[in-house]
């Protein structure tokens, strides 16, 4: 089981801030493929990965990062703090 978090417009497109998933995906990219296949709103949110960033266990990483042992994955647009 893994917690999947969404922020900013990713959260809005998917329609929730967080969900708990049972997945066998080995990488972030594999998890994205699973999500895209579920519903149109996921497909829309993940249509352009270059517009997205991902964190695994609260560390920024890449879409080819492994998910083994991860408790939390978060998807969001590029940050705009400051």
């Amino acid at each position: 089981m893994i917690d999947v978090l969404y922020f900013a417009w990713v959260r809005e497109r998917i329609g929730m801030p967080k969900e708990r998933l049972d997945t066998g995906a080995a990488t972030v990219a594999a998890l994205v493929d699973e999500l895209r296949a579920r519903e149109e709103r996921y497909a829309m949110a993940f249509s352009d990965l270059s517009a997205l960033r991902v964190a695994v266990d609260q560390e920024l990483t890449d879409f080819d990062a492994p998910l083994a042992g991860a408790r939390e994955v978060a998807f969001f647009p590029p940050m705009t703090g400051g």
Binding site: A8, Q58, E59, P77, M79, T80, G82
Partner: protein
């Protein structure tokens, strides 16, 4: 809020007292000759901004800011580092965040503050949404902000 080795990180919804923070920062440290502060303010570019809402990633935000501050401290001679960042609703003219650096040397204090800002902008999990004329829109990240990281 975490506090260690002269680093203080604050992430909060409430306004912060910039004058009091600036005054207290590195106060009484005789070994720091140079103090730099940067403050970010909600800017009404078009003259029609109603306000802004800042979303963040609780847990990761504090960790990301603490790491950026620790990297600045490893890279420059810094006695104290402060980062305060708000989230939630803000009105035009309100202070969003501040960083402060204290160093024996002015060059270090300036460079470290710019480094903190460059990394905070693009690597700390905050997202701004602007409200204007009844509509809302997410602020897009700027290519120049990502480009600014290449300087370091």
């Amino acid at each position: 809020m975490s506090e260690e080795a002269g680093i203080r990180i604050v992430v909060q919804e409430a306004p912060f007292d910039f004058g009091a923070e600036a005054d207290a920062f590195a106060a009484g440290r005789n070994d720091m000759g140079a103090v730099v502060t940067f403050t970010g303010v909600v800017r009404d570019v078009s003259g029609g901004l109603d306000g802004m809402e800042i979303e963040h990633y609780p847990g990761m935000t504090e960790k990301a800011l603490a790491r950026i501050a620790a990297e600045a401290q490893a890279r420059w001679s810094l006695g104290e580092v402060l980062v305060i960042h708000r989230h939630g609703k803000l009105a035009p003219g309100e202070r969003i965040m501040m960083v402060a650096t204290a160093s024996p040397h002015r060059k270090d204090a300036f460079e470290a503050a710019e480094y903190l800002m460059d990394y905070l902008k693009s690597r700390a999990p905050f997202w701004k949404k602007e409200s204007a004329g009844g509509g809302q829109s997410w602020v897009a990240a700027k290519d120049e902000d990502e480009a600014a990281l290449r300087r370091w």
